[in-house]
């Protein structure tokens, strides 16, 4: 418990006597009670701490500040402090306060500065992605000179990891998408009695657009993020540095196998997605529109040209390249803190899905204009 300091004014000299504990817990209250001191006028001050029973560093700091304050106002201050332990505490505080400077607070940035920085960072990110591309290409030239340099073991490992294990989820998602699309359009088509056209609609939309996109989005969420997180963690634990000092080019060991594995497997995954989505559509057509399997198949081979299938498959390797490259690039951008793993993993998924959709739009327009 704190005890009120006694304040006593005699002529031009003020006497303040402190009692009890002067600690972290009592200083604030004591400070408040000293507020009235300001109203007195005096040119000498005696601070008496002789009956203070306990002094901690906060209390000592309070004494130091009090003394310094009055000295600044040209008041002669006398300190009465007997206890040696308390004196030592006070001296410790005085010594350390002399060498320490005030913290300069971080400068607040103006709106203009913030905007500038934001765009500058985007610019730097684009440059760094281009740098990554360039490096990829150059390393490619250096390593693709002989078959021996291609790391088949890693490629097969990645194929298993990011494609074969993704088969289930891709099959299920595309089956459901086929089901939903067919169900919604069946309702509309029934109104016009154009039941049989569901085959044309499903065939073209699924083969050309839906299956490649669904596959790419699932893979971006599944493998793109995994790449970013894996490589980011390797960067933090200095595994990448260790590889470099041992002469193992991370691009050859980590980047290529992933990109190649994904580029090989993406068309296969798209094919699976095609089949599963059509199966979903077929079931709905069968139940909802009374189109038998045979009729569906007949109509299918009649109206859905092979080119639609190829257009979808061709997009595969390109989407794969975008997803893998963005994921790995984000992994390599990870800085030395754990937060940036999360940040870059999120970014990798957002950016690769965005890139895939933009790329798909470009394809869609180009192919249609080319008459494919």
């Amino acid at each position: 418990m704190h005890k009120k300091p006694l304040i006593n004014l005699q002529n031009d000299k003020l006497f303040i006597t402190f009692k009890g504990e002067l600690t972290l817990h009592t200083v604030a209250k004591i400070e408040k009670e000293l507020a009235q001191v300001k109203t007195y006028s005096f040119n000498a001050l005696q601070l008496d701490f002789e009956s203070v029973t306990f002094l901690d560093t906060a209390g000592a700091l309070f004494i130091y500040k009090l003394e310094k304050n009055f000295i600044k106002k040209e008041v002669t201050v006398t300190l009465l402090l007997e206890d040696t332990a308390q004196k030592e505490t006070l001296n410790l505080v005085k010594e350390n306060m002399k060498i320490s400077h005030k913290f300069t607070p971080r400068k607040q940035k103006s709106f203009l500065e913030q905007t500038g920085e934001l765009f500058y960072n985007y610019y730097i990110e684009i440059l760094s992605f281009l740098h990554f591309f360039g490096k990829l290409f150059v390393t490619n030239l250096r390593y693709a000179t002989s078959l021996k340099n291609i790391r088949f073991k890693e490629i097969f490992f990645e194929i298993n990891e990011s494609a074969i294990r993704a088969l289930g989820i891709i099959a299920l998602t595309s089956f459901l998408i086929g089901l939903v699309v067919a169900y919604q359009s069946a309702y509309q088509l029934k109104i016009y009695g154009a039941n049989i056209f569901i085959v044309d609609m499903l065939g073209i939309s699924i083969f050309r657009e839906l299956a490649p996109l669904i596959t790419a989005i699932v893979i971006a969420g599944r493998s793109g993020s995994a790449y970013a997180a894996q490589i980011g963690a390797m960067k933090i634990t200095q595994e990448l540095d260790a590889m470099k000092t041992m002469g193992f080019e991370p691009f050859a060991f980590l980047v290529f196998p992933r990109i190649i594995a994904l580029a090989i497997t993406m068309p296969i995954l798209i094919f699976v997605a095609d089949m599963m989505a059509m199966l979903g559509g077929l079931i709905v057509a069968n139940i909802d529109l009374n189109i038998t399997t045979e009729l569906f198949m007949d109509r299918f081979s009649e109206v859905v040209a092979m080119k639609h299938f190829y257009v979808g498959i061709v997009k595969g390797p390109l989407f794969a390249f975008l997803i893998a490259a963005i994921g790995i690039h984000r992994g390599l951008m990870v800085k030395d803190d754990t937060q940036s793993i999360g940040f870059n993993t999120t970014k990798s998924v957002v950016e690769s899905i965005f890139a895939v959709i933009v790329c798909d739009a470009v394809f869609s327009i180009a192919f249609t204009n080319l008459g494919i």
Partner: protein
Amino acid sequence: MEQIKVRDVWTILGDKIVHEGLNLTINEGEIYGILGPSGCGKTTLLREMVLLQEFAKGSIELLGKRLEGISEREAQGLRHQWGVLFQFGALFSSLTLQENIALPLIEYTELSEKMIEEIVQFKINLVGLKTEDANLYPSEISGGMRKKAGLARALAMDPKLLFLDEPTSGLDPISAREFDSLILKLRDMLGLTIVMVSHDLQSISDTLDKVAIIDNKKIIYEGTLQEVINVESDFIENFFGKMK
């Protein structure tokens, strides 16, 4: 013979100058320490020597090759002649200890599987790990063991140069002293040149032949440990005060 020559090296990170013209020379067979207060750029200098980071100006010569503008082929040649131990081991987390140590041998030599296995076993014993630890993954072993395994991996190719970043930090005192005597033993047995960054006073006085002290962006002392006390500097006063 001079193995490493650092001449007038400047390092600038962002808008902060880290090194202002460093000069040092490391001879064959020396255990050389780079010391200095935290944040003075010791590890940065080490990273520059092993081609992990670029410097702004000056030159570093390693085993007679200049690092600035080095060709990829020569750089690869150098990488086969050095071993690096990182502060936390930096073992590849997807490989077991044995696979970690065997990796450079598998990649760079034509040795048979059996031979590689024996070399790995020898290196594991050399650094004081047990043979039965060989099949553990880095996540399954302690920090001290990771360091020893990292050293075994650094020694896998029998390098001429060994770079150690804080080799004894995070080790208990007994393991730390064991590590020191191991380093001395390796130097004597294999004729290694060892460059290390360290804060461990005991380890410094037990192992180092020569030291360079970086303070205020410059090298304030290069030479033997015995004479370091005569140099006027706050850092030396604080750090070596106890040795007087």
